[in-house]
């Protein structure tokens, strides 16, 4: 079974981000970028499936600028077999990403698509679900455990109240949550080998997808600074303040 994994290039989780002076977005020039951590978990899961003999080929896909090749190389070093970059300078929103991935799925015919549950830059948490809907496939979002069978995949999902187990007919879409696995440290020889693995570059047009935008970003600003608190003399004053000033009781 082929497995397709989607990986996004995001600002590294160690970097403290700040808005651009003109409020048009977050400053990413000369900022360290790396693979979205949830996508690392997705790649790791695919590699483990291959090591178990359940997956035959892993294709890593990314959408974005040419430097996304770096995160694809990381996926290849982790164990993906080949990579596809859909190159665009635009920052496509989730629905467009889902449409691009759908087109790629139709071309590659994977039996399973694994994505991170969300990207740590925009925290959208939409792409996986949209992709499943567009394909008409079953979805197992927020997976903390997968059991892959011949016709079916069992997914334990992390939901608000605890864990939910669902069985999906294959092909299916799964999104990885934090506890699905712990991504491996990449081995040095594999970093070198990854350089020689195939990496194909496509344009959105090659896949017949038009990059339409439905959202306009008005302004990106830092959240307001938290103001200093005040001390109250006694419980009565606290209750009065909660009732009259904060109006919460």
């Amino acid at each position: 079974m082929k497995v397709l994994v989607a990986v996004k290039r995001v600002v590294d989780y160690n970097v403290k981000v700040y808005p651009k002076a003109d409020g048009s977005g977050v400053e990413i020039a000369n900022v360290k970028m790396s693979m979205n951590p949830f996508d690392e978990i997705a790649v790791e899961e695919a590699v483990q499936l291959k090591e178990l003999g359940k997956a035959t080929e892993i294709i890593a896909a990314s959408i974005g600028v040419s430097q996304c090749q770096e995160v694809l190389r990381t996926a290849l070093a982790m164990g993906a077999d080949r990579a596809v970059l859909i190159e665009t300078d635009a920052a496509p929103e989730p629905l467009v990403v889902a449409k691009l991935l759908k087109a790629l799925v139709e071309r590659e015919q994977p039996g399973l698509v694994i994505l991170g549950k969300q990207a740590i830059d925009d925290d959208c948490n939409q792409t996986g679900q949209m992709l499943a809907a567009l394909l008409g496939w079953g979805q197992g979002a927020f997976a903390s455990k997968l059991t892959l069978g011949e016709q079916e995949i069992e997914v334990i999902r992390e939901i608000d109240g605890g864990l939910e187990t669902v069985a999906l007919k294959l092909p299916a879409v799964v999104t990885a949550d934090l506890r699905l696995n712990e991504p491996r440290y990449v081995k040095l020889p594999n970093i070198i080998k990854a350089k020689k693995k195939p990496l194909e570059t496509l344009s959105p047009g090659d896949l017949g997808v038009v990059l339409a935008t439905q959202m306009t970003t008005l302004k990106v600003a830092e959240p307001p600074k938290r103001e200093a608190g005040i001390k109250v003399a006694d419980a009565a004053e606290l209750v009065a303040k909660l009732r009259n000033d904060a109006k919460v009781i």
């Binding site: 000369n30 440290y185 081995k187």
Partner: protein
């Protein structure tokens, strides 16, 4: 717990812009070492170091190592971390591909050595010594010995040690007494060795000791010392491990720092003699050992850099966080983080600028090593080898002395909190303190620089280096920017000090060798400061050009300020050192010993 984030941005700057990675990718065997690959390697090394090795640094310090009936056991987590390190293929990064190494340039290795040592110096010592032993075996061992031992040493499945020192034979190895008695195709080794780093441990299945000892008819002194390979477990013909050899750790030293690195007293041949195999030729042991010594000295220099950077990172984070007092010109209003105070900022810049200067100096030399090994033209190879030979003692001496100074400043930035163990700032100083001692003290490095490297070619290699510095100086003057001109002026003064001190040393060597020896340590430090100034000046030239094109202004702007700080507040020490050097021994030898 303090975190460690490898400064990969600056590392890449030095690798690409100063050490000239593009020169190396043209060399046979290094074609793959492109900037994107190097970046990927540094990122992954940084991850392993930051997430696995750095968190064990403090626990290893507190817990230390223990000697039990079964041998030496490392602190909790070290064995698992070492397995990850070996499985990740990191030990063999620059190892020969014939023996399973990755064959990457010394330059890339240098950066990873910095990363491991900054993350956890005690841990990093194990692969550091293994690398030296591997190199000595590779260069001098017989094919049979190499085939049997090298693959596992290159992968790190087995680790190597250097067994030189004995209680009466420290800096003076001519006093070595350990015996090697020939027997069939091997020797039996008897004697005691001390200060053996990672001499025994539970991280790997076998420990391969390279041991200096004397054969029965060997001449006195250094000309009678041979090098032997003595495995902890004998290796069967099929490569499997056989009997336990008669070599044991009999005690562990209690030390100021590097608590997680076992410093062993090793006893050879207490029962029936430890089986050892001759490496290279009989009575040439010291020369063979110097192969691994040079290797190890270069890496210990980088260790000084790594530990200094770790101390800097912690001091910087603390200074950004710790709120105390107001700016000088404000009587009221919010208190500020101490990084806003001029003296704290001076300390941080003193740390940062010297760390960056050491990095540039060390990596440029690593590139010289690559060019010395692999350049197709023999004259070029010789040129780079001469440079490496000249500067290895400077790298080792200067960077480790600065390591101590910078980790000490790190404590100072913390104030009282730096002096208590809780913050972790103390550990860096305690760990750093050994680096100017082992693998040849600073005094020994200085003697090597003055008595051998300068004396052998009457300063020719140094003159060539000075000329290269002058070229940079000229470029700075031509650049037409006030900042670069100021850096150029300072470099001019520094280079002049180096040249005059070199002349003094060369003139004094024959006339008054004791005065030259007395001045040698300060001459070494002077050379180090000027080499740092030379590389920071080169960095400034690159940074200015990049700034003019608008590339990464934050990084290149900071580099320019840092280079200027180094030029104006660090490099002028060369002038004072020149004066000190030219004072020779200042009449100190005339002072009667009982006046001390």
């Amino acid at each position: 717990m303090t975190t460690y984030l490898a400064p990969t941005r600056d590392m890449r700057f030095v690798i690409e812009e100063l050490a000239g990675l593009d020169r190396l990718t043209r060399l046979p065997g290094y074609e793959d070492a492109t900037p994107d690959l190097v970046e990927a390697i540094l990122d992954e090394a940084a991850k392993l170091a930051g997430e696995v090795l750095a968190p064990l640094n403090k626990t290893g310090d507190t817990q230390g190592v223990r000697l039990e009936a079964g041998g030496v056991f490392a602190a909790d987590g070290f064995k698992e971390a070492y397995q990850q390190f070996v499985e990740g293929g990191w030990n063999g990064i620059s190892g020969a591909p014939d023996y399973g190494g990755q064959g990457l340039p010394e330059l890339v290795l240098a950066a990873t050595v910095e990363i491991w040592n900054a993350a956890n110096m005690s841990f990093a010592l194990c692969p550091l010594l293994n690398a030296g032993a591997t190199e000595a075996l590779k260069q001098h061992g017989s094919d049979a010995l190499k085939a049997q031992y090298l693959p596992n040493m290159v992968s790190g499945a087995w680790t190597g040690t250097m067994n030189l020192t004995e209680p009466q034979a420290g800096s003076d190895l001519s006093a070595v007494r350990a015996k090697a008695v020939p027997e069939a195709d091997h020797y039996r080794i008897y004697g005691q060795k001390i200060f053996i780093t990672w001499g025994d441990h539970d991280l790997a299945d076998n420990v391969i000791h390279l041991v200096l000892a004397r054969t029965p008819d060997a001449p006195e002194g250094v000309k009678g010392i041979s090098l032997f390979l003595v495995p902890k477990f004998l290796v069967n013909a099929d490569g499997s491990l056989g009997e336990r050899n008669d070599v044991y750790c009999v005690s562990l030293e209690h030390k100021l720092g590097i608590h997680a690195s076992p410093t062993c007293v090793m006893s050879f041949g207490d029962q029936d003699g430890a089986i050892g195999y001759l490496v290279g030729r009989e009575n040439k042991g010291l020369a063979h050992m110097f192969t691994m010594m040079n290797e190890a000295r270069q890496k210990v220099g980088i260790q000084g850099l790594g530990i200094a950077d770790r101390a800097y990172q912690q001091a910087r984070d603390y200074a950004k966080d710790r709120v105390q007092g107001r700016p000088l010109d404000q009587k009221a209003g919010d208190r500020v983080a101490i990084i806003q105070h001029p003296d704290v900022r001076r300390m941080l810049m003193t740390m940062k600028s010297q760390v960056e200067a050491m990095r540039a100096f060390a990596y440029v030399m690593a590139a010289d090593m690559d060019l010395a090994h692999k350049h197709p033209d023999a004259t070029e190879r010789q040129h780079h080898q001469t440079r490496v030979d000249l500067l290895i003692p400077v790298l080792k001496g200067w960077c480790t002395e600065l390591g101590v100074e910078i980790t000490s400043i790190g404590i100072q930035v913390h104030g009282g909190m730096g002096y208590v163990e809780e913050t972790g700032a103390c550990q860096y100083l305690r760990d750093a303190r050994v680096a100017p001692i082992y693998e040849g003290t600073t005094g020994i490095q200085a003697a090597d620089l003055v008595g051998r490297k300068l004396a052998m070619d009457r300063g020719a290699a140094m003159a060539e280096l000075i000329q290269e510095m002058r070229d940079v100086q000229a470029e700075l003057t031509r650049a037409g920017s006030a900042e670069l001109m100021a850096i150029g002026e300072s470099l001019t003064a520094g280079v002049q000090a180096l040249e005059r001190a070199t002349q003094w040393v060369l003139q004094t060597l024959g006339r008054d060798p004791n005065a030259a020896a007395a001045a040698s340590r300060n001459y070494l430090m002077l050379t180090g400061f000027v080499c740092g100034g030379w590389q920071m000046a080169r960095a400034a030239l690159v940074a200015k050009a990049k700034l003019d094109t608008g590339e990464d202004p934050a990084f290149h702007g900071a580099k320019l300020v840092t280079a200027r700080f180094y030029a104006e507040q660090i490099l002028p020490q060369a002038d004072a050192l020149l004066k000190i050097v030219c004072s020779g021994d200042s009449g100190a030898p005339a002072l009667p010993v009982d006046q001390f």
